[in-house]
Every structure is written in structure tokens, then in C-alpha cells.
């Protein structure tokens, strides 16, 4: 079993990248590897309560539901949140200190910045 970490760090509303990163993360669980998703820098906006449907984008509800169901760890970088004044995180993600983010990345077998 490998530890795979996916890092989401883009602004969510002008790209499908973040949604695709989450879809990929779901796929990566299929061989019983341990998948962790980290929301870092502007990527933290993807882990907040937003209404993308107002600009005709699909919400990421399903991606988050399935990732939680598959017991993927979803971490949000507190420092990135503080810099942006973000507090309205989704229920199934966990805000952690930068040290924890660094530890997760360094202990991973595979790191995929998406």
C-alpha cells in the first residue's frame, strides 16, 4: 500500500482542474492505496462553501461525498486560510498547521500537485 498525496492549489472557479484533481483522487483509491488531498494556497477556496452553480459550474458536492465515504484524508492548510481570511470550510475537511502539511507530503510515496 502506498501513500499518495494530491495537492490542490489553484483558484477553483476559472478551471476544471480542481474538480478533476478530486475525481482523480477518487480513482487513486481503487487499488487500496492511502489517498490524502491537501488544499493549499488558492486551492483552499475549493474546500469552502461556495455556490459555483450561480456561474453555471458544477458544485463539487459529489466529489467530496465520495472522498469522505472512501475515508480519504482531506487537509486544508491553515496558513493559506488565514492569509485569505477564510473560515467557512466544508464539513468533511480538516484544517491543519503547515507542519502537518509538510509531514504528510514528506511521508508520501507519491505526491501529485494538480
Amino acid at each position: 500500500m502506498k501513500k499518495i498525496t494530491v495537492i490542490v492549489r489553484n483558484l477553483p472557479m476559472n478551471t476544471r482542474r480542481n474538480a478533476e484533481a478530486l475525481r482523480m483522487s477518487v480513482g487513486l483509491t481503487l487499488r487500496e492505496d492511502k489517498v490524502t488531498v491537501i488544499f493549499l494556497d488558492d486551492g483552499v477556496y475549493s474546500a469552502t462553501q461556495t455556490k459555483p452553480e450561480l456561474i453555471n459550474l458544477k458544485p463539487l458536492t459529489k466529489e467530496f461525498e465520495v472522498l469522505s465515504m472512501l475515508k480519504c484524508t482531506l487537509l486544508v492548510d491553515r496558513l493559506s486560510m488565514e492569509k485569505r481570511g477564510i473560515s467557512n470550510l466544508l464539513g468533511n475537511v480538516m484544517p491543519v498547521q503547515r507542519d502537518e502539511i509538510v509531514k504528510t507530503i514528506t511521508e508520501s510515496d507519491i505526491v501529485i500537485p494538480f
Partner: protein, 74 residues
């Protein structure tokens, strides 16, 4: 009587994830009939399931974008 699973409207990899989770509820040798309307899933889900050791009993096209895949759990 085979267990049925309707995955219309689902795309990859949710098609495989949900099929796999359903199979986990079944006993070895039981059959599962899954309905797909996502063409790539009809090619890929059976191939991936075979790789996981399950047996594909048949793939039936029911309409232009509708297929039923019959699986026997390993």
C-alpha cells in the same frame, strides 16, 4: 435472482467505485447486473473488474446509450 444496480448518469471513476462497493455487499458467486449510460464505463469497468478477479458474464446493449453488464463476484 441477480442484484441490480442502476448507474445511469454516473461517469468514470464513480461507475467503478459504486460497482465495487456493491460487489463488496454480495457473496462470492452471486451475480450483479449494472446499468450504464456512459460509454467509456462499458469498456473499462468490465476490464477493471476482470483485473480484480471477478467474472464478466455478459454485456448487453439495450439502447444507443444504454448497456447492462452482468458480473459474477469472485
Amino acid at each position: 435472482m441477480a442484484v441490480e444496480l442502476d448507474l445511469k448518469g454516473e461517469v468514470c471513476p464513480y461507475t467503478f467505485v459504486k460497482t465495487k462497493l456493491k460487489l463488496e455487499e454480495l457473496e462470492s458467486g452471486e451475480e450483479l447486473c449494472v446499468t450504464f449510460d456512459h460509454a467509456p464505463a462499458v469498456e473499462n469497468v468490465p476490464r477493471s473488474l476482470k483485473n480484480e478477479g471477478h467474472k464478466i458474464m455478459g454485456i448487453e446493449q439495450k439502447g444507443e446509450h444504454l448497456w447492462i453488464v452482468r458480473i459474477r463476484k469472485a
